[in-house]
């Protein structure tokens, strides 16, 4: 690993040592964050997968009934039946902070008091299959809302895990080794300077002694 381009001085050494401590602590924290995110993500994504299978199955059933209804009823009659829904669904959205990832939480509110108020048409002119379709969709709806919530959360968390993992790796494999290497380089350089000063002094002393006593 490359040594950083710094002056080999004592001040630089102290600075680097401090940075190394910070980097190590940051690395440990980020690693913990990654592990915890991963644990929650895996739980969530399993639920996501199961929910998706269920929801897709439910929608398929609703679609089958809907296709039959379309065949039995005329386009116009179907339009009229579904034109003015009696029910209106509204969402209350709150945000939850999971390891600094903001994930949405949905809470469903219905406009009319009776949640089963989903048939916006008279039963005289419509096919029973339409009722089946609407009922099937209505049954699967709570799961669809939960799916939306959990799928969005999974997507956000996957992003965050990817980012955190990159940071952890950058610290672990680039920053920390670089600091360590540079600290080692500066220490060596300073030691070397010290040794060269000592030898120089010894040499000067020899020369001075030689001069004073008129050796050789």
């Amino acid at each position: 690993m490359a040594v950083m381009n710094v002056n080999p001085t004592r001040m630089e050494l102290t600075n680097l040592k401090r940075k190394l401590v910070t980097a190590r602590r940051g690395h440990k924290l980020l690693k913990d964050k990654r592990d915890e995110l991963m644990r929650r993500f895996l739980d969530m994504v399993r639920e996501n997968k199961a929910l998706r299978v269920e929801v897709e199955e439910g929608i398929k059933e609703a679609n089958i009934a809907m296709s039959v209804a379309r065949c039995v009823m005329s386009d116009g009659a179907l339009d009229v039946a579904l034109m003015l829904p009696t029910q209106e669904m509204q969402l209350e959205v709150s945000e939850k902070n999971v390891m600094s990832v903001l994930i949405p939480e949905f809470d469903v509110k219905f406009k009319t008091a009776n949640e089963n108020d989903i048939y916006s048409y008279g039963f005289a002119d419509t096919s029973g299959d339409l009722d089946t379709a609407v009922k099937a969709l209505s049954d699967i709806m709570p799961k669809m809302i939960r799916l939306a919530e959990i799928e969005k959360s999974c997507s956000l968390m996957a992003d965050e895990i990817e980012k955190t993992r990159r940071r952890v790796n950058a610290l672990e494999h680039v920053m920390i080794p670089q600091y360590e290497e540079t600290i080692k380089y500066i220490t060596m350089k300073l030691d070397e300077n010290e040794r060269s000063t000592t030898t120089r002094l010894m040499k000067v002393k020899d020369m001075m002694l030689a001069q004073a006593h008129n050796y050789n």
Binding site: M38, F41, L42, V45, R46, N48, K49, R52, V53, V55, E56, I59, K60, A62, N63, M66, S67, R70, L78, L82, P85, Q87, E88, M89, Q90, L91, E92, V93, E95, L102, I103, P104, F106, K109, F110, K111, I118, Y119, S120, A133, V134, L137, S138, M141, M144, I145, L147, A148, E149, E151, K152, C154, S155, L156, M157, A158, D159, I161, E162
Partner: protein, 103 residues
């Protein structure tokens, strides 16, 4: 208060209307992108889009990936399930873990 929307071909999303979800029937991806932008700016927290339309406007949908709202969820349309939804889940796992460990 946020609302819920459904986009896609008319046949697939018609049923949602009776549940009180706002429906925006469209077949055309260009039109779909316009509608999606409008919905994302308006107060829609969840937007269900049929898988067929989802596959045709992937890039536009990817723009909303990093934002907490709206949640854009692919659902199977009347022509059947193309598996995009489950593929997406696998992609999340791949992104987070490195390989799809659930499949």
């Amino acid at each position: 208060m946020y609302k819920i929307a459904a986009m896609g071909d008319k046949d697939s999303i018609y049923g949602f209307a009776s549940l009180g979800i706002s429906i925006f029937p469209t077949d055309d991806p260009a039109q779909g992108i316009k509608t999606l932008r409008r919905l994302a700016e308006a107060e829609y927290a969840v937007i269900y889009i049929t898988e067929k339309l989802t596959s045709e406007m992937k890039d536009e949908i990817a723009r909303y990936d990093a934002k907490p709202l709206p949640a854009i969820i692919p659902v199977p349309g009347i022509r059947g399930n193309t598996g995009i939804g489950l593929d997406n889940v696998s992609k999340f796992v791949e992104k987070a873990v490195g390989s799809d460990i659930l499949s």
